[in-house]
Symmetry: C2
Subunit: 275 residues, 2 copies
C-alpha cells in the first residue's frame, strides 16, 4: 500500500482516503463519492480495529464480508481497497498509542473508555501508510470527527479532513452497520432518536436557545419508548465538546447515544442560533 501511494504521489495524483470498518452502506458510499469528486485516486481501507472496542463490546460479532464490501465499493468506483490484517496493523510488541486528552473522555468516551484512543491510533497509522491528500469521515460519528481533526492539527499530519453529512433511511434513522443488529420492532422505533433531534431543531428555529429546556424536550420524546435507554443526550460546542447552556452563534452538536435493546446507536445534528 505504501509503495503504491508513494508512486501515486510521485505521479502527481491526488489521493482520497476513506477509512472504514467494512460492512459498507450508503453512508460509506457517499464518502467514496465525495472522495471521487475531490481526488484523482480513491483508496478505501477495510479494517475492524480491535483497539477501539471495549472488552464487553461487539468486536467479535461485528459484520465482516470483504467480498460483498468490494462489490459494493466497485459500484461507486474506487481504485484500491486496503484490507490489512490485525497483525499488519498491530505487530507483536505493539505499544504506541495516540491519545487526545479531554475530548476523548466526553460523550461516547464516558461509556466507551479507550475507544477514541483506539480510533486516534489506528487513524494515525493508516494515514502514515496511505499519506492521502484528503481523508473522509461521516458526520454521524461526530465526536470521532472532532477527535481526528484535533489529532491532525496537533500532530501536524499533512492531510485535509473532510466531513460529509449523515445519510439516513427514509424514516430518518441514521445509517449504521450496527442497525443490522436491530429486531424488526427495534428497527421500527429506532427513528425516535432522530425525531428527538428534529424536535430540538424546530425549537431552536423558533427561537428557544435554552439548553436545559431543549434537553428536556429531547429526553421527553425518547422516553415515550421504554425500550430505548438513553446513554447520554448533550448539547456541546462543536470544537471543544464542552457543554453549553445557551445556543449562540458558535455551532453546537446535539448528540444522543441510546441503547435499543442491546444495540447502542448514536446520532447528532449541528445547530446554531438563528440570525
Amino acid at each position: 500500500m505504501r509503495s503504491i501511494c508513494h508512486k501515486l504521489r510521485a505521479d502527481g495524483q491526488r489521493i482520497g482516503f476513506v477509512p472504514t470498518m467494512g460492512a459498507l452502506h450508503e453512508g460509506h458510499l457517499s464518502l467514496i463519492r465525495e472522495a471521487r469528486k475531490m481526488a484523482d485516486k480513491v483508496i478505501v481501507s477495510i479494517f475492524v480495529n480491535p483497539t477501539q472496542f471495549g472488552p464487553q463490546e461487539d468486536y467479535m460479532q461485528y459484520p465482516r464480508d470483504l467480498a460483498r464490501d468490494a462489490d459494493l465499493a466497485a459500484t461507486v468506483g474506487i481504485d484500491y481497497i486496503f484490507a490489512p490484517t490485525v497483525e499488519d496493523v498491530y505487530p507483536p510488541g505493539f505499544s504506541t498509542y495516540v491519545h487526545v486528552e479531554g475530548l476523548s473522555d466526553k460523550l461516547c468516551g464516558k461509556s466507551r473508555p479507550g475507544h477514541f484512543r483506539g480510533v486516534a491510533t489506528v487513524v494515525s497509522i493508516l494515514l502514515n501508510v496511505v499519506r492521502p491528500h484528503f481523508a473522509f469521515f461521516g458526520q454521524k460519528d461526530a465526536q470521532q470527527t472532532v477527535v481526528i481533526k484535533r489529532v491532525v492539527r496537533d500532530l501536524k499530519i499533512d492531510v485535509e479532513i473532510v466531513v460529509s453529512p449523515t445519510v439516513r433511511e427514509a424514516d430518518g434513522l441514521a445509517l449504521s452497520s450496527r442497525n443490522a443488529y436491530l429486531t424488526p420492532h427495534e428497527r421500527e422505533i429506532a427513528p425516535t432518536i432522530y425525531k428527538a433531534l428534529q424536535k430540538v431543531k424546530s425549537m431552536v428555529d423558533q427561537g428557544n436557545t435554552d439548553v436545559s429546556q431543549l434537553l428536556t424536550a429531547l429526553g421527553d420524546t425518547i422516553t415515550n419508548y421504554p425500550e430505548i435507554r438513553v446513554d447520554y443526550a448533550a448539547i456541546v460546542d462543536s470544537e471543544t465538546l464542552e457543554s453549553v447552556t445557551e445556543i449562540g452563534k458558535r455551532p453546537v452538536i446535539v448528540a444522543v447515544a441510546a441503547y435499543i435493546g442491546k444495540t447502542r446507536l448514536i446520532d447528532n445534528i449541528i445547530l446554531s442560533a438563528p440570525e
Copy 2:
C-alpha cells in the same frame, strides 16, 4: 519548513534530519556529519521541548543560544535550521500525545514521569513537518532511541532512524549540554560513570556474564565518590528494556543515571557476551 521539505522531496533530494534542543556540542555535530554523508540536504531543528521536562526540572535554565548554535552548525555544513516557537509546536488547545506503553516507564521514565511521552510527541510532530528520509539520534540517550524506534515502527512513520555512537571527552565523560552545569570539582569526578561502565565491559570481556555481579562491580566503582548519587544502574535488553540476569548473545544496554551535585547525567554502553 513543510513547504521547503515538500519541494526538496519533489526535487528528489534525500532529507536528513537532526532534531536537537540546541546547546550544540560535538555529539550533535557528529550526528550532523553522519546526516551529511547519508542525505542530500540536512535540516537541524532547535527546540527546547517543554513537554519532556518535569515540573521540577531544568526547562527554564536549559541553555539557549540560537546564534551560537547556528554558527557551530554552519562549521559542519547544514542546509536549514528549523527553530519553531513553543506556540508553533503546541498551539492553544493542544491535547494530543503519543505514548509508548511499557518502554516509557522504565529506567529514566521512573524518575522522569512523562518525559518519554513528551519526547515521542515532539518527535512525531517534527517528523510530520519535515518528513525526512533519515533522522539521527545519539546513542547517549539510549532509552530515547529505543522509544523513538518503537514509535516509528508502531505508527508506521516512513523514516529511517539512525543512531550514532556517543561522543566523549578525552577522559571518557559523555558529551551533554548538561555538563555545563557541573562545578570544576564535579566535572573532575564525572568520568567515574564511564569508568564504571568500562569496568563492566572488561569483566564481560573476561567471560563474566552474571548481571548481579556486574552491577555490584559497577556500583562499587561509583560509590567510591560520595558526591555521586546513583539514580539507577541497570542491564537491560536493548529492544525491550527488560532486565536480564545473564548476558547472552542479544545485545544489552548497560545504563546509568546519576546525580553529581544537582546535575543528573546519563551514560550507557552496549554489550553482548563474547563468542
